[in-house]
């Protein structure tokens, strides 16, 4: 059938749907079928499958045709199509698309729908083979009929003549049982009269009822199997590998149908249509129902997951039936990512969320949800009159900081941890108290949950001293402990797999035993003190499979073997060690090269310096020699000069002598001239002497002149030499100085470079040392990993390994399970619901939201209060509890706040609080609140009636909010209520005795009980007849009784 998916909302239709809403709250109504589309309204059609390989005589296979409408919507149009075999002698096709191959080979089937066409290719082989495989073909059918359930032939002793293994655990044994000649269940001669069939159809009286009928696909298959010899099959037969359902997901509208197609895939690549043999279950049957033949019909808006199973294999199909978008989805101001994800989901389903709650609603709600008690009248007044825009988040912060938070959540966790002094946990007073105090402190300190889990699951010591050690007194044996821990911290219930595999759940007995092995070392021993137990661990321990008696190795939930983890650790350690070795080699190389470089440099630079030094010293010598030469040349010059000077002086003397001699000659001549003989003789003699003197003076002069000339010649000769020598000396000195400075530079540079090279060398040596250290560490790690692998099963506390795995950031369960629990506590329903029932067949209603919460929780360091805070501050949490016309059918997507009846403790405490009269719990001081009770052993009829659990299981649903007649009787007329109501010290008595006006007193009553002021209508009703002073006590008692019995009081809304 095809339906028009989107119809323009005409006024008539809106009116019609509004009218329908009143009676059926948007559940689709019979006869309100959407108009059918014709082929022209489709864009195209698609056939599924387009290609298939069939094998064997029973290769009948169906086709599904999907029409795609103008908006992209998908619809099952199979029933309206024409099917034609391209080659009529290869395969025949029925009107509804069922293909029956006639010959081996390949052929095609064409599909026509109006002007649209499509094709499917079929390959057939082994058509002649009528062989059956019991395990693949027959047993799944028996399983789907329910034959091998616990209550039927799967019970340990079977039923009547037939005993089957539970949920097909042992196919061969099942075959032996069914075909056992002595049991006469099978008659190959008269197959129709086989006892198996007569019983299954209840032709012969059958305790299990009639499971199938003649002509049913299951019946036909069993009959055909018997006709063909009721064989078990060959060991080489193709095995059943997986099943697949078409479609995997589909958006539909109420009234629409879809015939599913279920295919079984075999190891040889062949495929079989098992649509008529598979079994189906819809998680929300109101949203979509499904019949035995796989025809799915949508009934109401919402989402459902259809689980399909066959032969222990599962596949599923998600059906979304979105409401028609009668009005545009509103733009909503979101508070956080949480809201974004919630509203994205609501928008996809066209569910319009309710408005935000009033301050009064929010106030009462957040008190009850965070600290478990009502706000007092004063607290209510204060909050309601607070005008600050952020008063809600301020209130959330202040409540999370109050000690009552720990009180209230110690109850929740006490349920999960099953804390009780009496049966069933039997922790005794001391054990209970120390456990409770540890829990309370942990919650009050907001201990990170990873630490909480570690302290708990690795606890040891006296259960009277160590609170968490009591954990190991609750679960029975390793399996019990593992089941308890899994439920509490992974949200996974393993107890179903305690004894056997569940028919289609992922968790098996092996998972249970694998987890149990982590607790196999835990033991307890008694002490002299009464009932005291010491929890300790042995070096070894083991759990064995109940049937095979094989020892189970520790295995994390989901399949990682601890040995595999250990192997991985060894491999990682080895790789790290290799890396470290490599680093050492590299570091050694670099040290070597640095050393070499340094040495080479030092050598070459020393050589250079030496040369330079030599050069410098030789030039110094040269300079000295040059200077000497210059000096001697100077000296020679000076000597020559002085000789010349002497000569000059001689010359001067000679000249002066000559002049005197000349003078003497002249004088003598003169004298001669004038002189007598005698005197002349003397004069002549004088003249002669003077002439002689003159001659000698002339000679001397001549000699002196010659000497002078010679000396001057010598000076002249010596002057250039001296000059040259002096220049040479200057040059030599300059050269010497230059070379000295070059030497200085060179040695400075050499020093610097050496220092640099030294640094390089030091660094290289350091990294070598580091690398060597790393190697030794890696070596140790590798050795210990190897040792751990070797002695894994014989030493060490395996529980720590388990905790490491649980609190690892990528653990798929822990953070999700914790976030989901808090979500469920605050919003009344888990994203996975029940909150402690995670499994593949119980999908999350909003996986993206759960992922986000979990990721934030991990990021916060497993901070519980921060998780609370983010949810409490979301708009989603703060929505009104009043549904609107678009969301009142929603029960899972948080489009409004769901009503929660007060828990037993909340209600008992609320009664005490509003009446003003506390309850006395035995062994505890008067004034101890019900929300402060450490366990569930205090006798209290009231608490029992309102669903206080016995704490017999860690499952949260043990605490119930189911309604029961005992509860209404209790609220109406019990002693518990009436004593408190009538007490003169109670609220009614005090108000009556006060000087408050009746109006003020009523206001006080309303604020105390309902955390709000009375409305005008309520006041009108209450004061319909005036309250006389004499009636005050009675009327206030009556009104208090009435308010305590309103739903508004009994529920958190």
């Amino acid at each position: 059938m095809n339906f028009l998916r989107r119809i323009n909302p005409s006024p008539l239709r809106v009116m019609l749907s509004a009218a329908v809403l009143l009676v059926a709250s948007r559940v689709a109504r019979a006869g309100d079928e959407p108009a059918k589309l014709n082929s022209a309204q489709f864009r195209e059609i698609r056939v599924t499958p387009t290609q298939m390989t069939l094998s064997g005589a029973r290769s009948v296979h169906g086709l599904r045709v999907t029409g795609i409408d103008q908006d992209g919507g998908l619809h099952d149009v199979t029933a309206d199509c024409q099917f034609t075999g391209v080659n009529a002698d290869m395969a025949s096709v029925s009107a509804d698309g069922l293909i029956t191959p006639l010959r081996n080979g390949q052929t095609e089937v064409s599909v026509t729908y109006g002007s649209h066409t499509a094709k499917a290719t079929i390959e057939t082989r082994n058509l002649e083979s009528t062989a059956y495989n019991f395990r693949n073909d027959v047993l799944p059918v028996l399983e789907n009929l329910g034959c091998n359930q616990m209550g039927c032939h799967g019970s340990p002793k079977g039923k009547e003549r037939l005993q089957l293994s539970l949920f097909s655990a042992d196919p061969h044994q099942d075959f032996v049982q069914i075909t056992d000649a002595k049991k006469e269940l099978i008659s190959v001669q008269k197959p129709e009269e086989s006892w198996l069939l007569l019983k299954a159809t209840c032709t012969e009286d059958h305790g299990g009822g009639d499971l199938t009928a003649e002509g049913d696909p299951a019946y036909n298959l069993l009959l055909d199997w018997i006709r063909n010899g009721a064989a078990e099959g060959q060991s080489g037969d193709a095995s059943l590998e997986r099943i697949e359902v078409f479609p995997h997901e589909r958006t539909m509208i109420p009234g629409e149908t879809q015939r599913l197609l279920v295919q079984a895939w075999f190891s040889d690549g062949s495929v079989r249509d098992i649509t008529e043999l598979a079994s189906y279950r819809s998680s929300e049957t109101t949203v979509a129902s499904i019949d035995k033949r796989g025809l799915l019909t949508v009934g109401a808006y919402g989402e459902t997951s259809v689980l399909v199973r066959f032969g222990g294999l599962v596949s599923s199909c998600l059906i979304t039936a979105a409401q028609p978008a009668d009005v545009p989805f509103p733009e909503i101001a979101l508070h956080s990512k949480i809201d974004e994800l919630v509203y994205a989901k609501l928008k996809s389903l066209n569910i319009i969320p309710s408005d935000v709650s009033s301050d009064e609603q929010f106030l009462r709600r957040v008190y009850l949800d965070v600290i478990g008690v009502l706000p007092t009248a004063d607290e209510a007044r204060e909050f309601l009159s607070d005008a600050r825009p952020d008063k809600r988040s301020r209130l959330i912060d202040s409540l999370l900081d109050r000690p009552e938070f720990a009180d209230f959540y110690a109850i929740r966790w006490g349920d999960i941890l099953q804390i009780n002094r009496d049966e069933p946990a039997r922790l005794q007073d001391k054990g209970m108290w120390v456990y409770y105090r540890w829990l309370w402190d942990s919650l009050d300190q907001n201990k990170p949950m990873d630490q909480f889990v570690r302290e708990l699951l690795t606890a040891r010591g006296s259960a009277y001293e160590s609170g968490p050690a009591n954990f190991f007194r609750v679960g029975e044996g390793p399996q019990g402990m593992a089941e308890h821990a899994s439920t509490a911290f992974l949200g996974v219930r393993l107890d179903c797999a305690h004894c056997h595999n569940h028919p289609f759940e992922q968790f098996t007995l092996d998972d249970n035993l694998g987890m149990a092995a982590f607790f196999s070392q835990v033991r307890s021993k008694r002490t002299r003190e009464q009932d005291e137990e010491i929890i300790y661990t042995l070096d070894s321990g083991s759990v064995s499979h109940p049937d095979t008696k094989q020892r189970s190795s520790p295995m994390f939930l989901g399949g990682a073997q601890i040995a595999a983890v250990e192997k991985q650790a060894v491999e990682t350690a080895a790789a790290e060690k290799n890396r470290a070795d490599g680093a050492v080699a590299a570091a050694t190389k670099s040290v070597e090269s640095a050393t070499k470089q340094l040495t080479a440099y030092q050598k070459s630079s020393a050589e250079k310096i030496k040369q330079a030094k030599q050069l410098a010293s030789s030039s110094e010598q040269q300079a000295i020699a040059a200077r000497k030469m210059a000096e001697s040349a100077e000296k020679a010059l000076a000597e020559a000069q002085s000789v010349a000077d002497e000569c000059e002086r001689h010359c001067k003397q000679a000249r002066s002598d000559l002049a005197e001699a000349e003078k003497a000659v002249v004088a003598a001549e003169a004298l001669i001239a004038v002189s007598d003989a005698e005197s002349s003789k003397a004069a002549v003699k004088a003249q002669e002497e003077a002439a002689e003197r003159m001659a000698s003076a002339t000679a001397a002069m001549e000699a002196a002149t010659a000497e002078l000339a010679a000396a001057e010649r010598v000076v002249k000769e010596r002057l250039p030499t001296a000059r040259t020598a002096s220049r040479d000396s200057a040059i030599a000195r300059q050269q010497m100085e230059q070379q000295k400075s070059e030497l200085d530079t060179l040695s400075q540079r050499s020093q610097k470079k050496s220092a640099e090279l030294n640094i390089v060398l030091t660094a290289a040596s350091q990294s070598l040392a580091e690398a060597k250290k790393t190697v030794s560490r890696c070596d140790a790690a590798h050795r210990s990993a190897v040792a751990a692998l070797t002695v894994r099963e014989t030493t060490g506390d395996l529980r720590s390994e388990l905790v490491d795995w649980i609190v690892a950031p990528d653990n798929p369960y822990f953070a999700r399970s914790m976030s989901n629990r808090v979500w469920a506590w605050l919003l009344g329903r888990g994203i996975v619901n029940e909150p402690d029932d995670f499994r593949s067949t119980n999908p999350a209603s909003n996986p993206e939201l759960l992922d986000h919460l979990a990721a934030s929780f991990v990021q916060s360091g497993f901070d519980m209060k921060s998780l609370f805070r983010s949810i409490l501050n979301s708009r989603t949490y703060q929505l009104s509890s009043e549904p609107n016309e678009w969301n009142d059918a929603d029960s899972i997507h948080n489009s409004y706040y769901h009503l929660k009846r007060l828990t037993a403790e909340q209600l008992a405490e609320a009664v005490c609080q509003v009446t003003g009269i506390p309850e006395k719990y035995s062994g505890l001081p008067l004034g101890t609140r019900a929300t402060q009770l450490p366990d569930v052993s205090m006798r209290s009829e009231f608490l029992d009636l309102f669903g206080r659990p016995k704490r017999a299981t860690p499952v949260e649903s043990e605490r119930t909010c189911d309604t029961h007649i005992g509860q209404s009787l209790q609220m109406i007329s019990s002693d518990f209520i009436s004593r408190k109501l009538r007490d003169s010290k109670g609220l009614a008595g005090q108000l009556a005795a006060s000087d408050l006006s009746p109006q003020q007193a009523v206001e006080e009553l309303y604020l105390t009980t309902l955390s709000r002021f009375p409305t005008k209508e309520e006041c009108d009703l209450i004061f319909a007849s005036p309250i006389e002073p004499s009636q005050r006590r009675e009327k206030f008692e009556d009104l208090l009784w009435v308010l305590m019995n309103t739903k508004e009081f009994l529920f958190n809304h």
Binding site: E882, E941, I972, T1046, K1047
Partner: protein, 264 residues
């Protein structure tokens, strides 16, 4: 369905047979009331509605540690002495039926009762055996099955002012509703009808209360119970209202006193 829980400690001493017979017989007095609970249990509709059971009421005497079958109604006279008790069988006024020599008065009225000697269970454990006998199921881990009293409650619903399933004085732990939910728990009397100060929990109006004053309170409550009006159609609230109505009926009905108070 009336479930009477007795044990060998003699704490219920003096609970004479006539007393509980009297309580049980009340179930036949009833009036029919619309069965809202049945609509909740939609899955049970097809089973519950069509076939009305013949029995009007049923009494279960759960006598933990009481006299054994072979000392009372199943003496096995043919069995070897190792499998027999010390008492001898006597004939009754029903053909072929023998019971214990110490039950002469019952022997005279054997035409009025049937004995099912075939009922048995395979478990040697008291706990498991009790679960099997009270729920019809071998206990599975983590699951407590509903007792058959609870199943009758759910299938048949209320037929009169008194709850369909009553336990005296309190139910056995396996006589509760198990996974069906607390709604189908037995209504527990809570005390011994023979006790001097016997009172059925909350059925008697507290001191100082009168029926008239209760009716006044009811009227006010009807007017002031506004949440219900805002949540019209909420199943949980509707069921609670239903139980309030039943409670008022029980408190004010004269049948209640007749049923529970032996003096009347």
């Amino acid at each position: 369905m009336l479930h009477i829980n007795m044990n060998s400690q003699g704490r219920r001493s003096g609970m004479a047979r006539r007393d509980f017979v009297r309580v049980g017989a009340l179930s036949t007095l009833g009036l029919s009331l619309p069965d809202l609970l049945r609509s909740r249990a939609s899955a049970a509709d097809s089973v519950g509605s069509g076939t009305a059971p013949k029995a009007k009421s049923c009494i279960v005497l759960w006598m933990s540690g009481g006299p054994s079958h072979m000392d009372t109604f199943d003496l096995k006279p043919e069995a070897p002495s190792s499998h027999r008790g010390t008492f001898n069988p006597i004939a009754t006024n029903a053909d072929g039926l023998q019971i214990c020599e110490h039950l002469p008065n019952l022997a005279k009225q054997a035409d009025k009762f049937s004995i099912m000697r075939s009922v048995t269970h395979p478990s040697p454990s008291h706990d498991i055996a009790s679960h099997i006998m009270l729920t019809g199921n071998v206990p599975a881990r983590g699951t407590v099955n509903p007792s058959f009293g609870s199943v009758v409650f759910r299938e048949r619903g209320y037929t009169e002012a008194l709850p369909p399933y009553i336990a005296v004085p309190n139910g056995h732990r396996y006589s509760a509703a198990g996974f069906m939910g607390g709604t189908y728990k037995p209504f527990s009397i809570g005390s011994d009808p023979n006790a001097k100060d016997f009172q059925v929990r909350s059925l008697k109006l507290p001191d100082g209360m009168t029926v008239d004053r209760l009716q006044d309170r009811r009227r006010w409550l009807t007017g002031l119970d506004t949440l219900k009006r805002r949540m019209d159609g909420d199943a949980e609230l509707t069921v609670l209202d239903e139980f309030y109505e039943r409670s008022y009926d029980m408190i004010t009905s004269p049948d209640t006193s007749k049923a529970f108070y032996l003096s009347q």
